[in-house]
C-alpha cells in the first residue's frame, strides 16, 4: 500500500484533522492514498462524513495504540 502523504493530527481537535486532510488531498493525484493519525474521538464520524460529502473513499478506519488511523483514497 503506497501512502502518498501522512497527516499527523494527534493532539488536534475538531475541525483541524478534517482541515488538514482536505489540504493534503488537494496536493495528491487521483487514486492516491492519504493516511491520517488523530487522537480526537470525533474524527471517526467526521472522516465518514468528510468522505461521503466529498466523494473520496474511506479505505480504512482503525484504532491503533491509542490513536485513530484512517486511510483515504482520493477520487
Amino acid at each position: 500500500m503506497n501512502i502518498a502523504q501522512e497527516v499527523d493530527a494527534r493532539g488536534m481537535n475538531c475541525p483541524l484533522p478534517i482541515l488538514k486532510v482536505k489540504k493534503a488531498i488537494a496536493t495528491v493525484g487521483e487514486g492516491e492514498l492519504i493516511k491520517l493519525i488523530a487522537t480526537d474521538p470525533g474524527s471517526v464520524k467526521d472522516m465518514q462524513a468528510f468522505c461521503s460529502q466529498t466523494g473520496n473513499e474511506l479505505v480504512e478506519s482503525n484504532e491503533e495504540g491509542g490513536a485513530y488511523v484512517f486511510l483515504v483514497r482520493k477520487h
Binding site: N13, C14, I18, L19, K22, A49, F50, Q53
Partner: protein, 206 residues
C-alpha cells in the same frame, strides 16, 4: 362522440392521460434526484458576536463546510466585525454567563475537574476578572489542541470561504478600514446579503 374523445381513444396506450401523468411523476422524481445529487450545498452565516467564545462557531462551521466542499459565505456585522481585525484581540467574559464552565487549566486532574461557581457580584467587582477569564480560556483551548481563531480564519479564507462585512457597522462604531484584514471580499448591507442567504441550504444567525 366529440372530436376530443375521438382523438383520445385513437391515441396509443402510453400517450393516454393517465399513463402520461404516471410517466411525468416518475421523470420528475428522477430529474429532481439528479439535480439534488449534483448540487453543491451552501452555507450562509450572519456573525454578530465578537467575543472569543462566540468567534468559534462561525469559523469552525465555515472552515468545516469548506472542507466538505460546500460554498460558504459569512456576513460579519455589529460585534462580529471584531473577528475581521488584523490584530485579533478577542476576550471572553463570564459575567452573566452561568453556562460557562470555570475550570482551571492547570494542576492535577482532580483539581482541573472542579467547576468554580463564582458569583456575579464577585466577577463584577474584582478588577481584571475578564483578563483572568480570557487568559484561562485561551490556556484551556491551547491545552486541548483547539485551533486559534486566526488559524481557523486563515483556513476558511484559503479554502474559498467568502467573508463579507457590514459597511453600516463601520460607520456606526467609527472603525478604521485599515484595522481589518484585506481578504474581506466586500463591504455590504443587509439587502445584499439576504439574497445569498435565501439561496443557501443552511442559513445561520450566530
Amino acid at each position: 362522440m366529440s372530436v376530443a374523445s375521438e382523438v383520445m381513444t385513437a391515441l396509443p396506450d402510453h400517450l393516454q392521460p393517465d399513463a402520461m401523468d404516471a410517466w411525468l411523476e416518475k421523470k420528475l422524481d428522477e430529474k429532481l434526484a439528479e439535480r439534488e445529487a449534483a448540487k453543491t450545498p451552501s452555507l450562509a452565516i450572519i456573525a454578530t458576536k465578537g467575543t472569543l467564545d462566540m468567534a468559534y462557531p462561525p469559523f469552525i462551521l465555515g472552515s468545516t463546510a469548506t472542507a466538505l466542499g460546500w460554498d460558504v459565505s459569512i456576513f460579519f456585522t455589529f460585534y462580529g466585525l471584531e473577528l475581521l481585525k488584523k490584530d485579533l484581540d478577542l476576550e471572553v467574559s463570564p459575567l452573566g454567563n452561568p453556562a460557562m464552565p470555570m475550570k482551571m487549566p492547570f494542576g492535577p486532574e482532580w483539581f482541573k475537574a472542579i467547576n468554580w461557581k463564582i458569583p456575579n457580584a464577585v466577577q463584577g467587582i474584582v478588577p481584571g476578572f475578564e483578563v483572568f477569564a480570557t487568559g484561562m480560556m485561551k490556556k484551556t483551548l491551547r491545552n486541548k489542541g483547539v485551533a486559534s481563531i486566526a488559524e481557523l480564519r486563515e483556513m476558511t479564507i484559503e479554502a474559498g470561504g467568502r467573508l463579507v462585512a457590514c459597511q453600516m457597522t463601520v460607520d456606526l462604531f467609527g472603525y478604521d478600514m485599515d484595522d481589518f484584514i484585506p481578504e474581506v471580499k466586500d463591504w455590504i448591507g443587509a439587502a445584499s446579503f439576504l439574497p445569498t442567504a435565501a439561496k443557501s441550504d443552511v442559513s445561520l444567525f450566530i
